[in-house]
Point group: C2
Chain length 228, copies 2
């Protein structure tokens, strides 16, 4: 199984980095360790100096790969969306029924994450935690418009679009497919975060499962109901 996937690599927009971390051993160690460190410290406390100490390289070396820590975060989050899209495509392969396709799509978007052995240097479980607690900071910045022009958020849009297509199959006149899907993706993260840290803002218990049900209910109820 592994040997099949080890050929693949996830391609994110090349304006995110100065030098592709995927193409060198050091680059991979930067990614591997940054996931561990950001998960541990949060992006605010994370610094290139600390990362350098962990991998035994000076911070100036890391600056040759990424302009700053924000771009590194953009890279990690983009990688995640790319990876999720590929998981989505696999999950939908050979499934005919649009209803089942949509259901499976929501499962991928809102379900729990497991380690993917195809990418040895990436801990998807930790990366998922980073996405939950840090991904919004990627676009909630004064630089959004510039970064958007460079196409840095393209992978996220692709993912949303793939699910929008399924909704259109089921209900071509539905008015807000993009809003619905982006609400599901972001909402699922929030609800999981709330369950862990601010439980009075949610009805979801920490042991998951309900998140998927809640958003499935939301999507199908909106699509079916607005159909008449």
């Amino acid at each position: 199984m592994r040997s099949l996937f080890s050929q693949f690599s996830i391609k994110v927009n090349d304006k995110i980095y100065l030098k592709n971390p995927d193409e060198s051993e050091l680059g991979k160690r930067i990614i591997e360790s940054s996931i561990i460190l950001i998960d541990e410290l949060g992006i605010e406390q994370f610094t290139f100096r600390k990362l350098g100490q962990r991998i035994g390289s000076p911070e100036s070396t890391i600056y040759r790969y990424f302009e700053n820590k924000h771009k590194l975060l953009v890279y990690l989050i983009s990688w995640y969306w790319c990876w999720l899209e590929y998981r989505l495509v696999f999950s939908l392969a050979n499934i005919e029924s649009p209803t089942e396709r949509l259901e499976r799509a929501i499962d991928v978007l809102t379900g729990d994450i497991e380690q993917d052995d195809a990418f040895e240097h990436i801990d998807e479980v930790k990366l998922n935690r980073i996405v939950i607690s840090e991904s919004a900071k990627v676009y909630l910045t004064k630089a959004v418009d510039d970064e958007n022009k460079l196409g840095l958020f393209g992978v996220y849009k692709n993912l949303v679009d793939r699910v929008v297509v399924i909704i259109r199959e089921l209900h071509p006149e539905f008015q807000h497919p993009h809003s619905l899907i982006s609400t599901v993706i972001e909402g699922a993260h929030q609800q999981k975060y709330f369950a862990q840290h601010l439980p009075s803002l949610t009805d979801i218990t920490e042991d998951g499962g309900t998140v998927q049900d809640f958003f499935k209910q939301m999507v199908f109820c909106m699509i079916v109901r607005s159909k008449r």
Copy 2:
């Protein structure tokens, strides 16, 4: 009209500040100017030094009111939730029908914000923009649990609870009222932000109105549908 409200003041948790900015002229100027500056620069570029320069006071003076800029942001966001709760209560006064109450509640949570002359030193329109683009950063921090224990997010919970009560009136068995309302509040912010900066993630056009409709549809469809 104004004289009636000028008696009131918004009470946030007193652990947010070191010295209540509401009780001095300088404190009010700190709040007034910080809203303008944060709206302009974003929280990352905003510093107490810049704020000090704007109000003609050294940064050390501002540190006597707030521990750091994060706490100042928590103050502003808390103030906003408090203010929104009071607007909600007014909007629901004397309305009997639970359906109409819920509809009005969603209007308050997702609708556009206008200047409230009751609070002269606060520009609610700018504050609303800050809430949209910075409020998530208040809880997406490694310090959430500590700050939650201090009760810093109490005002947000109160607001959510008020709407949960209406949902329970309409449908006592509904499983996820908290999740639904927190999704509506956060989702409305996101969709407005996307409309402005990442339009391909939403179907909402910049000139609002549709946000309210989308989330009303969501809430009513979920409550009605799950009723049978």
